[in-house]
């Protein structure tokens, strides 16, 4: 299969390092250009010596490289719509970061743009391609634990805000400045926005959609942030499955401006642990374990060295396959909308202090 000529835009997302490696190493991709959001992002990009030309204007990048077939939109959430418009206009396929937008009017415009342009738009939820998740799905589908009754999951990480400051800026992360609730100095746009994965996963595992959700925030571990960093949610799916999620930034970090070894203070910088309780058994699983461990450089601190980490292979396989063979990615804009609706409902629950019905609002078909 002919490699897809791909570019990367903005370079300010938390997964940029992973994409530098993926775009360089994956034989299904031909990385032809990059475009930085600003000079600062370009300076960081230059540290990686990719050898791939980097521009400061998306128009210039497309003009110099008219053969670009697809882009990774590694930008702040508030720029996604504008960049999708540009891609749709040019018929360029899109690998979108995990939050296309929280604004459902914008979201529906994205759906329309992609449909009208006939392009592939895949949402980057790499957990979907994790081998432990694959096994988990298989175990559930084969009836190992019977009918699912409940799911608990963490999607807890360090906070990327020191390297990617926009993730602590409400306008850039959530799209606008919305107070968490009356009397709270914080705004929407923090840890929750970084962690849609488990909200997506439960839909796959249960085959059901969200019914209602309740959410609370705790005092921030990083008081200087304007956004929430400790948040918990529980709720019910339409088929009666109950859940409890922790999507917090509860693992502390060194405040590095460029991610590097020694970033983590807590030994394990990211944890996705899932418990599935069924009528006939219980599964507990760690999607990123076991690993190897060291207490060497740079901080001589006991550290979990992530060892099995190949999600981006399956992710790129699906993206390229959809482009070359005309398919629709499983996590596409329309599918992902219900995940975003639930995350918005979490914020609404924090505002009201009550459980909130997760209702479909402003569907693209309306």
């Amino acid at each position: 299969m002919k490699p897809v000529k791909i570019a990367m835009v903005s370079l300010t997302h938390g997964h940029t390092r992973k994409y530098y490696q993926t775009l360089r190493d994956n034989e299904k991709l031909d990385w032809v250009a990059s475009c930085a959001a600003d000079r600062c992002a370009k300076e960081v990009y230059d540290l990686y010596h990719t050898g791939v030309p980097c521009y400061l204007s998306i128009e210039e990048m497309f003009e110099k490289h008219p053969d670009i077939e697809a882009v990774v939109l590694a930008s702040t959430n508030d720029r996604h719509l504008e960049e999708m418009r540009e891609c749709a206009r040019r018929g360029v396929h899109i690998l979108s970061m995990k939050i296309p937008t929280f604004d459902l009017c914008e979201y529906d415009e994205m759906i329309r743009l992609v449909d009208e342009a006939g392009i592939v738009c895949q949402i980057e939820l790499e957990l979907h391609y994790n081998p432990v998740v694959h096994r988990l799905k298989e175990l559930i589908a084969s009836g190992t634990v019977g009918r699912i009754l409940s799911m608990q999951a963490t999607n807890i990480t360090l906070s990327p805000v020191w390297a990617f400051p926009w993730q602590g800026v409400p306008e850039a992360s959530y799209g606008r400045r919305v107070p968490l609730r009356e009397g709270d100095a914080r705004f929407r746009g923090g840890a929750l926005c970084d962690h849609p994965h488990i909200f997506d996963l439960i839909r796959h595992l249960t085959g059901s959609e969200f019914e209602s959700v309740y959410s609370v925030v705790a005092p921030n571990l990083r008081p200087e942030l304007e956004v929430e960093d400790m948040i918990l949610c529980n709720g019910t799916m339409k088929n009666g499955v109950t859940f409890l999620f922790d999507p917090s930034w509860s693992r502390m970090e060194e405040r590095l401006t460029v991610p590097a070894p020694g970033w983590e203070v807590f030994p394990k910088r990211m944890q996705v642990d899932v418990t599935i309780i069924g009528e006939e058994g219980t599964i507990v699983c760690d999607c990123f374990g076991p690993n190897v461990y060291h207490n060497g450089a740079p901080n001589d601190r006991y550290t979990v060295q992530y060892t099995y980490f190949d999600e981006w292979i399956g992710l790129v396989d699906e993206f390229v396959n959809c482009i070359r063979n005309g398919g629709t990615p499983e996590i596409n804009l329309k599918w992902h909308r219900k995940t975003i609706e639930c995350m918005n409902a979490c914020y609404e629950s924090i505002r009201t202090g009550l459980p909130v019905k997760v209702e479909e609002t402003g569907s693209s078909e309306e």
């Binding site: 608990q152 571990l221 409890l244 418990t275 309780i277």
Partner: protein
Amino acid sequence: MNIESMNEKLQLLLEKYMPGRRAEVEADSSVGCGAVLCRDGKCVRLLPWRVERRFTELKAVTENGTLEGISTLRFAAMSAEVNLRDLLYRELDLCEFLGQSELHSAFAVVSGSGIANVLVKLADGKSASIECSAALPENTPAQDRHEIIARRGVASDRVVDTQVPQSSIYLFRKEGERCYTDVDSELYGLEYREIWIVRAAFAVIRLPVLAALWNRTDLLLRRKVDAVLNTAEVGRPVFFSEVLA
């Protein structure tokens, strides 16, 4: 639980440290730890987790400056033997014991009679999550986790990058695997759960003021458990100041 063995060990402790004193634990089927202390014709409700070493160690690191600025408690308890109310009773008490603040509000979602996913707010603003399941299959060892997350430091009774409790000894033979976790020399031979009931009984005998405190706490905890489980029915969080007024 083997009440006879537990009472033998309790008498050993009393003879060693408080000669002449008599007391016994009795099985108790109402909500709680499964046993009460009986002495001088009165019963004392026991809160054995308050003397369980892993919890006293966790409490110590919350109080001695090891952890600073506690934000969130993440608790989980799964059991094949203990019912949901008893699990929730213990975990709610641990929220207050380790969180150093009273319960303020809570909301639960419940699956059947054995599973509850609860979010709790403490009066000082801390959050807590409690994952309770009495749905483990028969003969499955109890699983739990108690993690305290602070601005400075995280403390937990589980090892980083592991999912299940560790044992002190693993014995591998062709007949299968066996694990042993022995944590108390004086009470050697008792099961883990039994040890802390005996230790709790002994603590009350040594420090009689605990009797009234724990009996009072028990009364409140029963009402809190009912109130939390009721939130799943009514679809609204409970504010404990209203329930306990």
